[in-house]
Amino acid sequence: MTISVYVPRDSGALAVGAEAVANAILAQAAERGIRVELIRNGSRGLYWLEPLVEVQTPQGRVAYGPVDRDAVPGLFAADFLRGGAHPLCQGLTEEIPYLKAQQRLTFRRVGLTDPLSLDDYRAHEGYRGLARALEMTPAEIVAAVTESGLRGRGGAAFPTGIKWNTVLEAPGDIKYIVCNADEGDSGTFSDRMVMEGDPYLLIEGMTLAGLAVGAEQGYLYLRSEYPHAEAILDEAIARAEAAGYLGDDLRGSGKRFHLEVRRAAGAYVCGEETALLESLEGKRGQVRAKPPLPAIQGLFQRPTVVNNVISLASVPAILDKGPAFYRDYGMGRSRGTLPIQLTGNIRRGGLVELGFGVSLKELLYDYGGGTASGRPIKAVQVGGPLGAYLPADQFDIPLDYEAFIAAQGTVGHGGIVVFDDTADMAHMARHAMAFCAVESCGKCTPCRIGSTRGVELLDRIIAERDKGADVAQVALLRELCDTLLNGSLCALGGMTPFPVLSALDHFPADFGLVAETAHA
């Protein structure tokens, strides 16, 4: 009998040795004359256990992790192919509390299936949304997305259905779907996991967007730091075309949708939608002034839907199960689920998909288990490098777009970076300004020049902080932040003050300030 063994091909797992583990399993099996079928799945998102090896048993899949190459002979000796006991055994994968407690809608298949198997995809509810959509009018598809309450998961949280409706109603024969897969925020990898672990989900989501607005061409703008995702997407697109899920006649409906991957070139600002469109057109990735909105004049001046990977990947389930199913998760105006990424100095880092409303405290301690270093958490940064640094007394905030705006923060793309009490927040504030200086597209003055002046100010503050803060320099820094906040063309300059000001407000001592003078 052949035994199925799963070793992820996810690039996170590969970076901690999954390839060597896969090879060692094949070599040991050959040596022992055992037939194994090695399946290279996506990651379950339990990254502290990667490389996570799973074995199919009659009771279900049994997990072992973190496995390194040298542990493989011992696993065979412990009869892991029948779920044998071993110090690395985590029991049945589905019963691991971290995974079991989640509400996986978008990530339902990631890690479970063979990412490139269309049969696997269809056997696990794949392409059911497309089957529904092919019997609906464009307006009905848009209405379903609007009713679901889905908001853009890239960070801006704009209602997806409203954006689609604008493109649907925009005049013109040629329209485009653009997927923003330029996932540049530190602390995020959910887009990557979907692309590497369930590529047909994204392809189906983009196809649905095309049907909804009348677009026949899609571009997937993928960051160059994700070569594994690119290879998997290229292969998945070719297989989907061969099976009639992409091309000139979608499943015999006579409708068309073509899709191609375009590799980005390492500019963070191209995650901003108008800079992304300029880049797709083959130009420098400089931000455009809005209006016109991309929905009216986007790629090559045509009406264009620009959506993040997770937004598009959320749509198939909405069409398959109906908008109410999705809308029933979440809180307030934040409907559905959010794939949250627990990262940085955290004991159990990984992917946690839950309805909106979960508190930071639950995520950091119940799921994350506190810091990896074992020291107290000093701060977390939510929503990428432009997100605020929050101190421990704010960990009761629920993950909700409005609650985070009220706390001068952003949910962003759902990344959470944890820092222990050794972190120097003045240094992190300086890093935010330096990052903005490196990545600024140069179009607007506050961002281009302000970021460099911000680095200089913070260098002066840090140099003097042991003697007590230079209050005049801090006041100047606050004024500069005000200029960036209100005078920048896009979120890069407009939000760089969030990490800077939150560090100043919540961790004044790191700047040599006593609490009262922090707001001087």
């Binding site: 690039s11 996170g12 590969l14 970076a15 901690v16 990254y47 502290w48 990667e50 996932e183 540049g184 925020d185 530190s186 602390g187 995020t188 990898f189 990557r192 960051r223 160059s224 730091e225 994700y226 070569p227 375009r262 590799r263 980005a264 070139a265 390492g266 500019a267 963070y268 880049s279 797709l280 057109e281 083959g282 130009k283 420098r284 990735g285 400089q286 090559f300 990424q341 627990l342 990262t343 940085g344 100095n345 955290i346 880092g349 990984g350 992917l351 990896a372 940064q381 490098p385 990344g415 970076v417 944890v418 820092f419 222990d420 972190a423 992190m428 890093h431 990052f435 490196v438 597209c441």
Partner: protein, 148 residues
């Protein structure tokens, strides 16, 4: 120097072939630059004119794009990149950057996020990512790289 002339001719014809294979695509410049860089390891300065001619752009436009994006360069890129995203910094990537520079000097650059933030800190060596890095692990990996 006939050998050198041959090399230049060969690289010119490679550039022209690459441009020709993409010129029908809308927004062809980035795919062209990526393929040239993959072939040569960098963008040869002499390639700017044939790219501009082939895509009906000015040389200034082509140079402008090459100089805008971090990925494109006129000289070979670094062999080692250390992730300096916030998640990797929270796990000590600043110390890693120092260790890498001590071993590799100018061949080391920072990169801002490789998307493996739950297994921080990360480094990239010869286009492969390595997570959960420590200065000691990095030193032994780099020593292997130098020997190779």
């Amino acid at each position: 120097m006939p050998a050198n002339t041959n090399n230049i001719e060969r690289s010119n014809s490679l550039v022209e072939t690459i441009v020709e294979s993409h010129r029908h695509r809308p927004g062809a410049l980035l795919p062209v630059l990526h393929e040239i860089q993959a072939s040569f390891g960098f963008i040869p300065k002499d390639a700017v004119t044939p790219i501009a001619d082939g895509l009906n752009l000015s040389r200034a436009e082509v140079h402008g794009v090459i100089s805008f994006y971090h990925d494109f360069r006129y000289v070979p890129g670094p062999s080692v990149r250390v992730c300096m995203g916030e998640a990797c910094q929270s796990m000590g990537s600043a110390a890693l950057l120092e260790s890498a520079k001590a071993l590799f000097g100018d061949g080391v650059e920072p990169v801002y996020c490789v998307g493996n933030c739950a297994c921080a800190p990360n480094v990239e060596i010869a286009h492969a990512y390595h997570g959960r890095m420590s200065p000691a692990k990095l030193t032994s990996l780099l020593a292997r790289e130098v020997a190779a």
